[in-house]
């Protein structure tokens, strides 16, 4: 039973988030008892629709970033990728340091207004932690272990599949965790690019100094981020060989 104990907070948070979305009216009323809103209710997109848009953006961009990021990271550690490593890591890093709002502003004129722009920006944003952690994780596998694997006749592919990737798994999952959580909050900004999501009410709230709107958008995002973080942590514990 002890191993399910860690799942209780996750379940409770999901319950909390679910009730916020289902009883969004009540959630709004609750906030209105603390803050005043200038907006009449009922004239907006329902909260659960915005939530689903938010999820869609994060899930699609994260999956793209995970697939592409892991492949790119692995490639950079091979003998073929070695020479691109320094320059590509720099480029990927640059994508990260670029302000997210500015990145969105740049992407919109190129691909147009809507979810596409947001997806591209979020993808670039999520890529860096994944690529970086894959490279570091694989490079930290002890040389003697890799030597032994090669010396026993494993092909390059076999050393990755049986030795390097399993041993780097902790770092790789750590990268996925970081990038997904970053993406959840960065997706709020994507509202500015017309992609919908919970960011829509946050942006509206900021424009009109409406505390109720800001909180209605940002509280679900925060709870979602904590749920994702805790869930991925559990997965990480399951998949990674115990190093303690």
């Amino acid at each position: 039973m002890k191993k399910y104990l860690a799942l209780i907070p996750i379940a409770l948070l999901i319950l909390l988030l679910g009730s916020m979305l289902i009883y969004s009216k009540g959630f709004e009323e609750l906030l209105k008892t603390m803050f005043t809103s200038k907006f009449p209710e009922g004239s907006r997109t329902p909260l659960h629709v915005l939530f689903m848009q938010h999820m869609e953006m994060v899930v699609i961009s994260s999956i793209m970033a995970i697939v592409f990021g892991i492949s790119l990271g692995i490639f950079l550690t091979t003998s073929f990728g070695e020479e691109f490593k320094a320059s590509l890591l720099k480029l990927v890093n640059l994508g990260q340091t670029f302000p997210s709002a500015a990145l969105l502003a740049l992407v919109v004129p190129i691909v147009g207004y809507g979810i596409k722009g947001a997806l591209i920006a979020l993808f670039i944003y999520a890529l860096m932690p994944i690529v970086y952690n894959v490279v570091v994780g694989i490079e930290e596998v002890p040389v003697s272990v890799v030597e032994a694997a090669r010396g026993m006749g494993m092909s390059e592919w076999e050393t990755y599949r049986k030795v390097k990737i399993p041993l780097a798994m902790n770092a790789i999952l750590g990268g996925i965790r970081t990038s997904t959580v970053i993406n959840l909050s960065a997706a709020s900004l994507a509202a500015a690019a017309g992609s919908g999501g919970l960011g829509v009410i946050v942006v509206n709230g900021v424009r009109t100094f409406d505390m109720v709107l800001i909180l209605m958008g940002s509280i679900p995002v925060t709870i979602l981020a904590v749920i994702v973080e805790l869930t991925l942590e559990q997965i990480q514990k399951k998949l990674v060989y115990n190093n303690s």
């Binding site: 003697s144 030597e147 694997a149 026993m152 006749g153 041993l167 190093n243």
Partner: protein, 306 residues
């Protein structure tokens, strides 16, 4: 069995191996001995192509190493390294089964082989099969390393300072046990070490290297009693001859004469017998049903000289 012909290895201007030729016969334990940086380890790694040579030819069981796919070549040779290189995320069973898995043996055969190998290296399968490498002591880990190298029953074993990182007491035990295993299995072994005692104890033939070349090659008796130059003589030191005695078992030179005192253990070497004589200040010490005398040791040495 293994032949190196005029092999060079050049690391961008630094010559690690300068024209080595040698031949290792089937079933022979061939020691590459020398100070650090003499190129002995590089020479070993040239054979399984962990290092690619600059020029020269290497033949393994009659085939040129370039004629075989490199992974196939390596699977034919067990490989043991100083740091063991055990896979930390796999248990002992999975570690030992590495090459059998690569060769796609069926599970039943692999399971049997795992047990057989652990018993061979003196570890109880019931206790050790499910352990992770981090739960093993240095000596145990190195035993598992040897078991892993032998798992697919290769004809050839390449060992790069395999017992170098183990504490002295476990090391001597490992060396003696390995000698017994080798007596049983008769593998062709190339063994790299900088430890003179280890070389003299284990080697059928010893190849002394310095600065990337072979200085002398011969049986332990030859290199100790007839060193070709000052370097070889200095390398073995003044007590080199004593180490030579470690090769011989006292019970093989037993005489019927019975004497008082605690008998030596069954696997005691002549070196240990001589040491006991000094400690007890006697020229004869007891063995099980007999004894060994100083005279017998001297006779053996005179024979080797002749």
């Amino acid at each position: 069995m293994i032949r190196l012909i005029d092999v060079f290895k050049d690391y961008e201007g630094y010559e690690a191996v300068k024209g080595i030729s040698l031949e290792v016969k089937e079933g022979e334990l061939y020691v590459l001995l020398g100070p650090s940086g003499c190129g002995k380890s590089t020479t070993l790694r040239l054979i399984n192509r962990m290092v690619e040579r600059t020029s020269g030819d290497i033949f393994v069981e009659g085939e040129h190493v370039d004629a075989i796919q490199v992974e196939t070549l390596r699977k034919k040779m067990g490989y043991v390294i100083q740091s063991t290189g055990l896979f930390p995320h796999m248990d002992v069973a999975a570690n030992i089964a590495t090459v059998p898995h690569l060769l796609k043996w069926d599970e039943k055969r692999i399971k049997e082989r795992n047990r057989e190998m652990l018993e061979l290296v003196g570890l109880d399968p019931e206790v050790y099969l499910k352990k992770l490498p981090r739960e093993l002591s240095g000596g145990e880990a190195q035993r598992v390393g040897v078991a892993r190298a032998l798992a697919a029953d290769p004809h050839i074993l390449l060992m790069d300072e395999p017992f170098g990182a183990v504490d002295p007491i476990s090391r001597l035990r490992l060396q003696k046990e390995f000698k017994e295993i080798q007596k049983k299995l008769k593998k062709t072994v190339i063994f790299v070490t900088h430890d003179v005692e280890e070389a003299l104890l284990l080697g059928d033939k010893i190849c002394i290297m310095r600065d990337g070349i072979v200085v002398q090659e011969g049986t332990p008796e030859q290199v100790i009693l007839k060193p070709v130059d000052q370097f070889v003589q200095d390398f073995f030191g003044k007590e080199g001859a004593l180490s030579l005695l470690a090769r011989f078992k006292a019970k093989d030179y037993k005489e019927e004469t019975r004497v008082e005192g605690e008998p030596l253990s069954d696997d005691a070497s002549l070196k240990e017998a001589l040491s006991e004589m000094i400690l007890r200040s006697e020229d004869r010490v007891a063995l099980d049903s007999g004894s060994i005398s100083l005279e017998a040791i001297m006779k053996l040495i005179r024979g080797e000289h002749g």
